[in-house]
């Protein structure tokens, strides 16, 4: 490891510690709840970019895994210890992602996008069907002994984990394999990369983080039903945050998630009736004006400052 990298890891650890202690100085619960929203989307967008950043496979399946995790908490939260609930969520995410990954990662481009969106809807409809026909009750109450502060710390730990994993993957052979796949899958195969393995591995890792995020977030709602847990807008917001920040850069998704959660919070509070329209506008503006992401802007800007074109 170079000196620069050691410094980066140390700086990361300091920021993490600072964030962990931050709630001590928060007097208003509103701010803690806002921080939780920010962290949730930081984790989701970074997990999304873990797979989609280098491979450029645009996935809209985020909420399929997120909702799955939320339901694991709703179903097992009362009977089992919390650690077991999280473990079950991770296992469920792993199993579903493996099945989905192995059967669909042969698709590419727009077909994969459509499929991933369909997957989220399919899971939602399946859960709805089950609740209506088997449990005879569409909604569920989530009674778990987890405080807001617990949620905050767990999300923070999860964010640290997924960022650390992304940094490690990026400098490994696997990271190179994914970047080659993202550029040209034919070339990837012809230099000896088992593209299916690499893609399924990362898709699964990314899905596990999303599922655990859903499990951690569920207690915050106290009541969930399929349209809350599997709301497609979660997938879209995750995607647009990663794109705004730049999915290729390590901190890109965080860079995109923080301002957008604040913006959506503001829009939701002040224009509750027009939220969807404004959300759409924000999407258009981002795709149109920041196609490279903020991290791309910053890189170009700093290059120009150094006098390079």
């Amino acid at each position: 490891m170079s000196r620069k990298e050691i410094l980066a890891w140390a700086a990361g650890a300091c920021v993490l510690l600072g964030l962990a202690l931050l709630p001590r100085w928060l007097e208003d619960d509103y701010y803690l709840s806002l921080l939780i929203s920010i962290l949730m989307y930081c984790v989701l967008a970074t997990s999304w970019a873990l797979f989609s950043g280098p491979t450029r496979y645009v996935s809209l399946a985020t909420v399929a895994f997120f909702g799955l995790g939320a339901y694991v908490t709703a179903v097992f939260g009362e009977q089992l210890p919390w650690a077991a609930v999280l473990a079950i969520a991770a296992g469920a995410g792993l199993a579903v992602a493996l099945v989905v990954g192995l059967s669909t990662l042969r698709l590419s481009g727009v077909y994969f996008v459509i499929f991933s969106f369909g997957l989220a809807e399919l899971v939602k409809q399946l859960v709805t069907w089950w609740e209506v026909n088997v449990t005879k009750d569409l909604g569920r109450y989530v009674f778990v002994d987890i405080t807001q502060l617990d949620i905050y710390w767990q999300l923070l730990a999860l964010l640290a984990l997924v960022l650390g994993l992304r940094a490690l993957v990026h400098r490994s052979r696997l990271g190179l394999a994914l970047r080659v796949i993202g550029e040209d899958e034919t070339v990837a195969k012809h230099v000896g990369i088992n593209t299916t393995h690499a893609k399924v591995l990362l898709f699964t890792a990314s899905a596990v983080f999303m599922t655990v995020t859903g499990a951690i977030m569920a207690p915050r709602w106290t009541y969930i039903d399929p349209s809350i847990a599997f709301a497609p807008v979660i997938s879209f917001q995750t995607l647009i945050m990663a794109l705004l920040g730049g999915a290729g850069a390590l901190l890109g998704p965080v860079l995109g998630a923080v301002p957008l959660v604040l913006l959506f919070e503001y829009l939701g509070a002040h224009f509750p009736n027009h939220f969807s329209i404004l959300l759409g506008l924000v999407f258009i503006v981002i795709v149109y004006f920041v196609p490279q992401g903020l991290s791309g802007w910053i890189t170009r800007f700093s290059r120009r400052k150094k006098g390079r074109p």
Partner: protein, 255 residues
């Protein structure tokens, strides 16, 4: 298996590939022996690139067998074939645009059976870039290279795999006379190091200079095979070229 088969490096036996009703490669058979440079010739659309794709696994064959070193490879996937030691370049050059030239070459060596990665890979990549004349561009994104330099980079990436067989798909096309001489010298040097090369090529000067043998295809089938000078005088080969487009007839006349 007979003795003749065990010393062939690559053996294509009745390989067939269809696209809908079109038979792009029809019962194609030929052998390559270790250390040879063999030309795969034919007019445009005669199935040469498809044949290359069958060997490298980019396309599955619909019939026939392909043996590499005595081992059947026609049912293997591209990445498995690459790891066995067959590397290729592409007719339409494929470099990894945003990655640096050095990373493009490292991509070639990081996934072979005995992978190189990290510092050792960087040093080896620099050697290979030097070999193709790109040592000054190591840090440059591959997409910013000229077309010719991208071709050189692609060759360096193929060599990074340390292949036993190299497939060159019109690698010399589009070079100016000086570059062509450099290119020919480079391929000769590769042959000197023991590499076996199968090249699809339209530049007849290069074919004459490099290939001891040629296989000629027309409309998916093999119409001639043998020593280069002899094959190019073959009446059927001349007819295939003359019967083609104007472009092809000029090539044949030049041949």
């Amino acid at each position: 298996m007979t003795a003749a088969h065990t010393c062939t490096l690559l053996s294509v036996r009745s390989a067939t590939r269809r696209f809908g009703g079109l038979v792009a490669v029809n019962q194609l058979s030929f052998d390559l022996y270790p250390g040879e440079v063999v030309g795969l010739l034919g007019p445009n659309g005669s199935g040469k690139t498809t044949a290359m794709n069958l060997i490298s696994g980019a396309l599955p064959a619909h019939g026939g067998q392909i043996l590499f070193n005595g081992q059947p490879i026609h049912a293997l996937k591209s990445h498995q074939i690459a790891r066995l030691g067959i590397a290729r370049t592409f007719q339409l050059v494929r470099v990894l645009g945003p990655l640096s030239c050095q990373d493009n070459v490292i991509a070639g060596m990081a996934f072979k059976p005995r992978p190189l990665f990290g510092k050792a890979a960087a040093a080896r990549a620099q050697e290979l870039l030097q070999r193709v004349g790109l040592e000054r561009h190591a840090a440059l994104p591959a997409g910013e290279l000229t077309y010719i330099d991208q071709k050189r980079l692609e060759l360096a990436r193929a060599l990074a795999l340390e292949p036993r067989l190299l497939l060159l798909d019109e690698w010399l096309a589009g070079l100016n006379p000086t570059e062509l001489q450099q290119g020919i010298a480079l391929i000769r040097q590769l042959q000197g190091s023991g590499l076996t090369i199968l090249m699809v090529e339209h530049v007849m000067d290069a074919v004459h200079a490099l290939c001891s043998r040629c296989v000629v295809m027309h409309a998916g089938t093999r119409i001639a095979e043998g020593a280069t000078a002899q094959v190019l005088r073959d009446p059927e080969v001349v007819r295939a070229y003359l019967g083609g487009e104007e472009d092809d007839s000029r090539e044949a006349a030049h041949a």
